[in-house]
Amino acid sequence: MKTVYARPKCMKEAHFHYCPGCGHGVITRLIAEVVDEMELRDKTICVAPAGCGMLVYNYFDIDTIESAHGRGAAVGTGIKRVRPENLVFSYQGDGDLAAIGTAEGFHAANRGELISIIFVNNGVYGMTGGQMAPTTMLDQVTTTSPAGRDSVIQGHPVKICEVYATLDGTSYLERVAVNKPAAIIKTKKAIAKAFRHQQQKTGFSLVEILSPCPTNWKMSPLDACKWVDDVMTKVFPLGLIKETKKC
């Protein structure tokens, strides 16, 4: 019998804690598949965030360190500078990277640190129960924007890829999604590309992944997937934002 689908080698025998319909499980698995296919398990060091993605270290069978909330890019910088031969990536959510860790991410990108950030954008603080994030849509209702996000009071959704694109240290920035099979295949390719950019030392790389959060969006998983297309991609257009060299 031919095996067509199996657990990636660099994933542990553990059950995901993610909510039904959440994009994190897909993304976690995609990273593991890429690490397997590029045969990078022995070289990879993952920096886990604070937030829903925090427990990736329970799933990856690769060396992992947890960072304080928002400091993933700084921790990753420290590791990569000591061990330039390793592949270092941080896994960060929107609150982690676009709010509390704005400075760390921005300056790691500007220094052209040879690390990759897998940036999961689901527009809310998931782990803490669905508060407004920097990437929350205008008019989106969250527990801390009960009347909907109002740009006059709460500002606008932050576009990390577009901001980072202005920095000369960045070499690869792409926005993808995990709300349907075709998009998932593109996401996997983008993760692999980011890692190749790191290996070829072209500069800082980041993949922004639009990811459904049905629990905190208070939608069914299917509606959440549709909402990514109908609403999120209007503010966060998918596609290659920047690539300084083909990898």
């Binding site: 070289k43 304080a68 400091r71 590791i79 000591v82 061990r83 390793n86």
Partner: protein, 352 residues
């Protein structure tokens, strides 16, 4: 050589290969020294970070990757670093943090002060944790940096070197020692990529309260070992004294000057100088309390170490205090006059 530069040179000689820092006076010479010096070290890493928070987290990353890493700052910057220091303690990662204290609170000023004693010795971040070394000269600063890196590796714990603006800025001759053979420490926790071994994980999040409690007791047992083994202090003219001055760092230098003057006038005053502020040298204070009743605490603050002195004395003796906060540095003459007044008042009180 200035204290700041001496600390930098000593760190490099102690095997520090990574320095991360953010500019703040009065410790900029250390950052600047490392910018040049680390470049000469094989595998040396220097980053002027975007903030103190980033710097301490880079230290955490470098330490997890197996390097001897250091950062330095002063009061306001150290406050920002506390988050990372707490994580280093929880993750059991070695690192050295130098604080050249200045006047506070808030922005305060850039003059020498000892305003961060409680922050350093009580663990300024969340949780309890760290050994604090307080050098009183440029030479001792250089020597203690070696000790700091070794203790950090021995206990897998962050370590604070607590100086002040004066120690950082002043120039004194200094002799550097290079350890003949670098001690090897077990590095089974270091992240290298899981080549030919199971994956490693460094974390402080323990959702299970039972696990978190056990982790806390494990750390506690480690701190108890430090308390047993790492107490350091110096005494000066204490044997025949009937009043003991207590001061650390630069304040102890001033106190020594004052004591020399007081001795010329026939006042029998001695000194206990804590070198480790945590663990605090309680025993020598308790032993001294059998010989004399008067303890005089002198600090460049409104009184922080005095709490530890009182805790050590457990209600025994009489504790006098003189402090100057805000970056004011009293002269030995000024201090000697105040000590003399207390000394005579105390004698008077005993007669009546």
């Amino acid at each position: 050589m200035s204290g700041n530069s001496a600390v930098g040179e000593a760190a490099v000689l102690a095997g520090c290969t990574c320095y991360f820092g953010y500019p703040i006076t009065p410790q900029n010479e250390l950052t600047e020294y490392m910018a040049k010096r680390i470049a000469e070290v094989p595998g040396g890493v220097f980053i002027q970070s975007e903030s103190e928070i980033a710097a301490i987290n880079m230290v955490l990353g470098a330490s997890a990757a197996g390097a001897r890493a250091m950062t330095s700052s002063s009061g306001p910057g150290i406050s920002l670093k506390q988050e990372g220091v707490s994580y280093l303690a929880a993750d059991e990662l070695p690192a050295v943090i130098v604080n050249m204290m200045r006047g506070g609170p808030g922005m305060g000023n850039i003059s020498p002060a000892q305003s961060d004693y409680l922050q350093a010795t009580r663990g300024g971040g969340h949780g309890d944790y760290t050994i604090v070394l307080a050098p009183a000269s440029v030479q001792e600063a250089a020597d203690l940096v070696h000790v700091a890196f070794d203790l950090a590796d021995t206990y897998r714990n962050p370590l604070v070197v607590l100086g002040d603006g004066m120690l950082g800025q002043m120039m004194e001759p200094v002799t550097f020692t290079t350890p003949a053979k670098k001690k090897e420490y077990p590095k089974e926790y270091v992240l290298t990529g899981a080549s030919g071994r199971p994956a490693r994980m460094i974390r402080s999040l323990l959702f299970d309260t039972k696990e978190e409690e056990e982790h806390n007791w494990k750390l506690f047992r480690k701190y108890q070992l430090m308390e047993q083994n790492e107490v350091r202090y110096e005494t000066f003219l204490l044997d025949d004294a009937d009043m003991a001055l207590l001061a650390y760092g630069i304040a102890a230098r001033i106190a020594k000057g004052a004591i020399k003057r007081l001795r010329q006038e026939g006042l029998r005053v001695g000194l206990i100088r804590p070198i480790t502020l945590w663990p605090f040298p309680k025993k020598i204070i308790q032993e001294t309390a059998k010989q004399l009743a008067d303890f005089f605490v002198f600090e460049m603050s409104t009184g922080q170490m005095i709490e530890d002195v009182k805790l050590a004395l457990e209600g025994k003796g009489h504790v006098h205090f003189y402090g100057r906060p805000g970056g004011v540095i009293p002269t030995p003459v000024e201090l000697s006059r105040i000590v003399a007044r207390h000394y005579y008042q105390s004698k008077q009180g005993k007669k009546t």
